[in-house]
């Protein structure tokens, strides 16, 4: 074979949601970047559910956008239905979710990549990683070798192999050695990783069937509409530009008959028959799992979601399965509306190689391999949004390391991305990791509505947010602070007009004077409705920004900050506590064998995790509070 050599700055392996963000970040920061994919037609492919966002995942997309990522912009271009979830609940758990036109999504992202300066797309399987040994027992990545033998020399490699590594798909007894959607699997890289000393895991996930829309009787289902007013994902998208006609999704239910068929055929499920060795995710259980584990539930919800505008395929959400085809068909046909359904693509389970992400530090670089970064399902996560978020961080940090700058490390108190990465690199993951709002301890502060305020500055410092965007943020913050200060200092007396206003809004009348902010705190009153008695508002806005009302996004922040102030203050106090523990750094060269009285399990865990701080150490499973006390005492010496 020829010894053809190419020299670049960064190689990104894989062009899924993580790979796209990683490659774009590097190229946008001026680094010569190559992105490898086994098929150029599968760039930013959505092989499972046809949507972006959802609870907590919507937060990730918002944060990604605030830092300068692409996913938010791309879904804004290609969505066909949009919904803000949890609107009846508090602002912290409002979550945006959009149905995507899958083909459009892929095409638009490909367009962005193709037109990105410094970025080259290359269709090729990467077979080998190239490295050299360093004096300190660590290794350093020097390049990659593709299937043709061509060598790409580079300063950093970002692995975003998704579910392709030694992938195996199972549909009942039928087993194929392919990646998602029947695409070619990547079979060689695992050996190279093993040779590098990387510890591998094997996970599984699954996807439900796709059905022909013409075979479905929607009259037996409940129609699910999109929101009347569409909120964009990206801070760069003008809301007015995306108010468009939306398509519907449909809701139906399984029943006892469905469950009986599943129970009767469990022995033919590769999972229950023990053929699948990988660990599956609990949060998106197969219908077999739901029926077995929650046997008291009489029915399970099934959502039919369109895969795009130019296809008849419908995604059957809630019924992923790895049962054989004949059982699948019988099972699906028991569901109202699906009596005559025709399956275009069968449900299947997929197994793949991924890593134990504890080998990474919080910048997503391998602790022992300089220049090797990784992101996405390869790191043991699940979901498009989780992948994209890591891809962006890995891309940024590959660039930062090449530039010799400090890495971008987000912590748990400032972003869902920080929670995601901290969980991945410090905790023991036995299943694909999905983001959940319950994983974020400080979620009242980590809202989807304030991701720009939390993270834009960091994106600007990194170099992915323009000066103009940054200035716009500073202006927004100025308006928010000024208006909050005004509301707190503007008092209204208990006069006739005010009392009449309060009575008309079913709100208790005043005994003494109250500030405008105090009134906003009342559940039944809003910033908007108080306009009537807030005489100075218009003049103040005029003076502040030259308009009679403040921009909508400013008002949103003002209202939330004022209304939930008590809770927000409590949460900030918790963050202070947390930061104290995070700031107690553990020296990198600590020898845990010299720390007296650590329990054996804790000693082993600490040795292998090598936490950077006491805070991180305390989150490692198997390290008890007593061990932390011991460690604290030792460090104080």
């Amino acid at each position: 074979m020829s010894e053809f050599r190419v020299k670049v700055d960064v190689c990104v392996v894989g062009a899924g949601h993580a790979g796209c963000e990683a490659a774009l970040a590097c190229a946008r920061l001026g680094l010569e970047t190559v992105i490898f994919t086994v098929s150029v037609d599968s760039i930013a492919l959505m092989p499972c559910n046809p949507n972006i966002g959802g609870t907590s995942k919507g937060h990730l997309v918002r944060e990604l956008d605030a830092l300068g990522g692409e996913m938010g912009k791309n879904i804004d271009k290609t969505f066909i239905q949009s919904k803000m979830l949890n609107v009846s609940k508090g602002p912290a758990v409002h979550s945006l979710r959009a149905q995507a036109d899958k083909a459009d999504y892929t095409r638009e992202m490909r367009k962005v990549l193709e037109n990105q300066e410094h970025l080259t797309i290359k269709q090729a399987e990467v077979c080998d990683l190239l490295w050299e040994n360093m004096p300190d027992n660590k290794k350093k990545i020097t390049g990659v070798k593709i299937y043709t033998g061509t060598i790409y020399e580079c300063k950093a490699v970002i692995l975003c192999t998704g579910t392709y590594l030694r992938a195996r798909c199972l549909c009942g007894e039928a087993i194929t050695y392919t990646g998602p959607n029947g695409l070619q699997a990547a079979t060689h890289l695992t050996d190279s990783l093993n040779a590098l000393g990387v510890e591998m895991n094997r996970f599984k996930t699954g996807t439900p069937a796709r059905m022909d829309r013409r075979s479905i009787d929607f009259s037996k289902m409940e129609e699910q509409f999109g929101d009347e007013r569409i909120v964009p994902f990206s801070y760069s998208t003008d809301p007015a530009s995306i108010q468009k006609e939306q398509v519907s999704c449909w809701l139906t239910y399984t029943n006892e008959e469905t469950h009986d068929i599943i129970r009767a055929n469990l022995d033919r499920s590769p999972i229950y028959a023990g053929i699948i060795e990988g660990t599956g995710p609990r949060y998106c259980p197969s219908i077999e799992d739901k029926v077995v584990k929650f046997s008291d539930k009489e029915r399970h919800q099934v959502f039919l979601e369109p895969e795009g505008l130019h296809t008849n395929e419908m995604y059957v959400s809630g019924m992923s399965s790895s049962l054989p085809e004949d059982v699948q068909i019988r099972m699906y046909r028991t569901v109202p509306g699906l009596e005559n359904c025709k399956i275009v693509r069968n449900a299947y389970a997929i197994e793949y190689d991924c890593i134990n992400a504890r080998q990474l530090d919080a910048s997503l670089e391998f602790i022992d391999i300089k220049g090797l970064f990784s992101a996405g399902q390869f790191n043991g996560s699940s979901g498009y949004e989780e992948a994209a978020a890591q891809g962006l961080v890995a891309g940024i940090n590959a660039a930062m390391s090449i530039f010799g700058r400090d890495p971008l490390v987000l912590d748990r108190s400032e972003s869902y991305i920080g929670v995601l990465i901290d969980d991945l690199v410090t905790k023991e993951n036995r299943e694909p990791y999905r983001m959940m709002t319950s994983r974020a301890e400080y979620r009242l502060l980590l809202r989807q509505d304030n991701a720009d305020i939390r993270l834009r500055k960091k994106g600007y410092e990194v170099g992915l947010i323009s000066e103009e965007q940054y200035q716009a943020l500073l202006e927004k913050e100025r308006l928010i602070q000024a208006e909050i200060a005004r509301l707190k200092s503007t008092n209204v007396g208990a006069n006739k007009e005010i009392q009449a206003f309060l009575e008309s809004h079913n709100s208790a009348t005043l005994k003494t004077a109250a500030s405008m902010a105090e009134l906003i705190c009342r559940p039944e009153l809003t910033y908007e409705c108080l306009k009537e008695i807030d005489k100075e508002r218009e003049a103040f806005a005029m003076e502040l920004c030259g308009m009679p009302t403040l921009p909508e996004d400013v008002i949103e922040q003002v209202e939330i900050e004022v209304k939930y102030e008590g809770y927000i203050i409590r949460q900030r106090k918790q963050v202070e506590q947390y930061r104290k523990m995070e700031e107690k750094k553990i020296p990198e060269d600590i020898d845990y064998d010299c720390v007296p009285s650590l329990r054996l399990e804790a000693r082993q865990k600490l040795k292998s995790f090598r936490p950077a701080s006491i805070g991180q150490a305390s989150r490692i499973s198997g390290v008890s509070p007593a061990d932390i006390s011991v460690l604290l005492v030792y460090l104080e010496h």
Binding site: P208, Q301, M436, T437, L444, P596, S597, P625
Partner: protein, 473 residues
């Protein structure tokens, strides 16, 4: 401060008893023990002895002189080596079982210190056990309480905490809070599958119940403290009824001045005594009568005040003097209180009949007050008094076998914190806040309770969500 040195102390109580134990713990424990222990043959064997085997021998204080060691024998003992981690502290430990006697114990202890051990600080063995992961925080603190407990009651409470009664209750509360949290979180994460409709009312009920239970535990903390410090007992009665004699009899010393002249005790005297395993803080008061003497008057006022604050009142009635106005003044003090009436001086000519006294008590509303006939100077009836006090506190008012009593300040504070958080949850629900706001304070309560048993939040919530609720697409 955690130090990796070897410590020693007398592990048993500091009283003369049959057997006393010296415990040596730390990396050099075996070496220290070996220096001072010899078998009857004179051989030094401790260093090579198997773990957990009791060995007969002698503690010898002196040089390594093999010929004259017998002249330096301090005590005839049994010794045991417990090698790490299988010991109370998790470290190498040597225990020497001596033949009691404080003096001998102290000499043996001094000997260990001369041979390389350091005198342990109070609770240091337990601290090491905790740091070595041998016990959780609640257990460790219960052990320390055990060491410091002054009486059998506190002892039993400490033992209960140790056995995990408190841990059990706290664990139960935590698991109930966790369930609610998981339900809310599951619904927030998967709003299309799990609905929170009508949940707020259900939660409010649950929260109220938890608040009640927390409050009960906290209240017990005050009781627990009381028991540890002793039950505040006030002796009242007319001048010269025998109050000071009672105090002296219980104390066994002439602490209060006892004369036949009424009004000798002009102020109040306070003593702590142990009675059937209960600590009593006994306050002897000035006799209550109408008096013109200014100093005595102050004493009388004080007596009334102490009686008001007392946990137990012992009312001493002089049987040799007729009941009068002063008695009518005293009886209201014991109404609604735990009280015992002593009909004293029954050895003298009785002017007060028991029936008469009981009738007066009935008339004044003291229905269940027990009357005991005594002659304090003759030591008659004192046994019955002690039994009665014991019964009142062990059987009647506080049933220590079924109730968890908090005796540790840190536990109380954590419970208070949890209580405050649960009250916040209740308020959020009353204010009709969105459900996700409940979880902030539910989580705080969960974490606060975790501090009692030394458990962190960790992944509990996510585990609970997945195990209890059907999630996802």
């Amino acid at each position: 401060m955690f130090k990796k040195d070897t410590i020693a102390a007398i592990a048993t109580g500091l009283t003369d008893s049959g057997i006393g134990i010296i415990r040596i713990s730390g990396p050099e424990a075996v070496m220290v023990g070996d220096r001072l222990f010899r078998m009857s043959s004179g051989k030094k064997v401790l260093a090579d002895m198997p773990s957990h085997l009791l060995q007969y021998g002698f503690v010898v204080d002196g040089e390594d002189d093999d010929s004259s060691w017998k002249e330096h024998i301090l005590d005839e003992v049994m010794a045991v080596v417990m090698r790490a981690p299988k010991s109370f502290t998790g470290e190498d430990t040597v225990e020497i079982h001596c033949h009691g006697g404080l003096l001998v114990l102290q000499k043996v202890l001094e000997c260990t210190i001369r041979n390389g051990a350091r005198l342990a600080e109070p609770g240091e063995f337990t601290k090491r056990a905790f740091l070595n992961g041998k016990m959780d925080l609640a257990k460790a603190e219960a052990v320390i309480d055990l060491i410091h407990s002054q009486n059998e009651f506190a002892h039993k409470s400490a033992v209960n905490q140790l056995k995990g009664l408190l841990s059990d209750q706290v664990k139960l509360l935590r698991s109930e809070i966790l369930y609610e949290l998981a339900f809310i979180e599951a619904a927030l994460d998967d709003p299309e599958h799990i609905s929170l409709e009508g949940y707020s009312e259900k939660l409010t009920k649950k929260v109220e119940e938890i608040i009640y239970r927390l409050q009960k535990l906290i209240d017990s903390a005050d009781n627990g403290k009381l028991m540890k410090e002793g039950i505040s007992t006030v002796i009242v009665g007319k001048p010269n009824a025998g109050k000071s004699s009672l105090l002296n009899a219980l104390l066994g010393v002439d602490r209060a001045i006892v004369t036949d002249i009424a009004g000798t005790t002009r102020d109040v005297l306070e003593e702590t005594i142990r009675l059937k395993g209960i600590s009593l803080n006994i306050i002897d008061t000035a006799g209550i009568r109408n008096t013109e003497d200014v100093v005595e008057k102050i004493g009388v006022e004080k007596a009334k005040k102490f009686a008001g604050d007392a946990d137990l009142i012992v009312y001493v009635v002089d049987a040799s003097v007729h009941l009068d106005e002063s008695d009518r003044e005293i009886i209201p003090l014991i109404k609604d209180k735990k009280a015992i009436v002593l009909l004293n001086k029954t050895d003298l000519v009785q002017k007060v009949k028991e029936e008469e006294l009981e009738a007066l008590l009935q008339e004044q509303g003291c229905v269940e007050t027990k009357v005991i006939r005594t002659s304090i100077t003759e030591h008659i009836g004192l046994e019955e008094l002690e039994e009665t006090i014991k019964d009142m506190f062990f059987r009647g008012q506080i049933n220590i076998n079924h109730e968890v009593v908090i005796t540790n300040l840190r536990h109380k504070e954590a419970l208070m914190e949890a209580l405050e958080s649960m009250k916040m949850v209740k308020r959020s629900a009353e204010d009709e806040m969105p459900e996700d706001f409940y979880s902030i304070d539910l989580m705080s309560a969960y974490a606060a309770l975790g501090h009692i048993i030394g458990e962190e939040v960790d992944d509990d919530l996510v585990q609970e969500i997945f195990s209890k609720f059907c999630m996802g697409k």
